[in-house]
């Protein structure tokens, strides 16, 4: 028994509308693979991915499956398993639009929304070709004059509000609070998102706010619009304290994704099997 309405993974996927701007967590922040598969199954189209700050297999799969119109990111890579082949193909053949960025800029744009300010300044970036390709970024004279740098130039970045954020986490409690541990970028993502859906490995029969230590590791339910139970929901990516990344599957994917045909076959297989047990309790 929980004090909130549990959702299915399918319901979460159905909440993602075509054209929406989706928050994509990094490989270490809890990749919502079970929902990603449902999104692909549902043939969602023209999604815009906002990666904080990068994506691995999740982004590559969505791109290879034709779900993506645009991606804003600091990197797409399979890490130790090489470049992200479907992403490479999409860029080299202009199939998707890319807003190349850098990690701290992706953080700062969400922090602006978190604080409801229209922009955030950020040092660095000037002289990078990233800047020349971003019409939404500006360089201004630092309006806060200091003694040493009277004519300092500084970049300002626009606030970005996400339509929806989906991530996978270890635990939710009976009141729908979610344990995120040190992955505090998930809090920033959630604060900057209109809707937030979370899949979890387990739901525990307690209230995290009863214990100061657990409360410290919690994203409060007030930012969360739906939770689904999804065992192994990040697989083949890893989840801290639960399972490590599945090297074998990553190698298999990296090989298959090299060509669209072999990728398509891989995905057919992937979709037809049920790797995730999505049970309501």
């Amino acid at each position: 028994m929980v004090n909130f309405d549990l959702m299915t993974v399918e319901t979460i996927a159905s909440k993602v509308e075509d054209n929406s701007l989706i928050g994509i967590p990094a490989d270490y922040s809890g990749v919502p693979m079970s929902v990603t598969i449902e999104i692909i199954k549902r043939k969602k189209r023209n999604l815009r991915l906002y990666c904080l700050p990068l994506t691995t297999i999740q982004g590559d799969m969505l791109i290879g499956s034709g779900c993506v119109k645009e991606i804003e990111t600091a990197a797409v890579t399979l890490g130790e398993y090489g470049q992200a082949p479907r992403f490479q193909d999409a860029i080299e053949n202009s199939k998707i639009k890319i807003k190349d960025s850098t990690c701290p800029a992706l953080h700062a744009q969400l922090q602006a929304t978190e604080k409801s300010v229209p922009f955030m300044p950020l040092r660095g970036i000037i002289g990078s070709d990233l800047y020349h390709n971003r019409k939404d970024w500006s360089v201004i004279d630092n309006p806060m004059k200091t003694h040493s740098k009277d004519d300092e130039k500084i970049v300002i970045l626009p606030a970005v509000q996400l339509d929806v954020l989906i991530f996978h986490a270890a635990k939710a409690d009976i009141n729908g609070n979610v344990q995120i541990g040190r992955r505090r970028e998930l809090a920033t993502l959630a604060h900057a998102s209109k809707k937030v859906y979370v899949t979890v490995e387990e739901i525990v029969n307690e209230d995290f706010f009863e214990c100061e230590l657990k409360a410290s590791a919690t994203l409060p339910s007030l930012y969360i619009d739906g939770i689904s139970l999804s065992k192994n929901g990040a697989w083949p990516c890893g989840l801290t304290d639960y399972y490590t990344l599945d090297s074998e599957e990553m190698n298999k994917y990296a090989k298959a994704a090299k060509h669209q045909e072999t990728f398509d076959t891989y995905m057919e297989n992937f979709i037809s099997q049920s790797f995730y047990s999505n049970n309501l309790i």
């Binding site: 270490y28 904080l52 600091a74 890579t77 701290p104 040092r123 660095g124 970036i125 130039k153």
Partner: protein
Amino acid sequence: MTEVLQPEILISEISNLLRDDRHVAIGAASPIPGSAALLAEEERRNSDSKLKVTILHSQKFNNFTDGSRELFDASAQGRIDTFFLGGVQIDGEANINLVGTGRYPKLEKRFSGSFGSALMYFVVPKIILFREEHTPRTLVKKVDFISAPGISPPNVYRPGGPKYLITNKALFSFNKKDKNFKIEKINPEFTLDEVIKSTGFEFKTNKNLKYFNMPSQKRIDILRNLIAPKVLNFYPQFAKKLWFN
């Protein structure tokens, strides 16, 4: 003496560059710098000047608790002494390209992306550029895309920047004023002429040119017995191939 592997020599050389650091951070996909930092940490464990190592892709070797933003914030605050950056291409003015080759945005060959380079390169005092492959394809006259520039005009905040470039063939230092690299050490398996031929940009030669050092047996033992198992945790592919095959 045991046969020393080529990556171990690089790890040892990089480790020497971290001598005076207090906190070194290691970003994505950097197994050799990561191993070098852990080696330096281990060797200084019982000294007065301890080294902190933060490996971002590890839960265990991560001194941060404020999410993935903290590396960038802490670096901007001047709290990180050394960081490593790579490059699909690196040019003679230390501009780095992590995005791809060809004409942006429709590249001939797309690579992963710029990661945090466009801030880190500006704020970390000692940036070590590391690219194992040393060919005219990687060390170029002019990069196709500047992920982060090697130098900046005076009206741009820039306490940090490139200090070294290390490849499988040589170690270079970077001179900010002259805007160029100078060769410091060479892998004894190559001649200076071979290095010049495999470098797409011109660099300053060095009368006191030294060779890469062979790591001592003690260092190799530390590396294989203590560091390798750690690396296996967060760069499994790399560690398996090098040490556990």
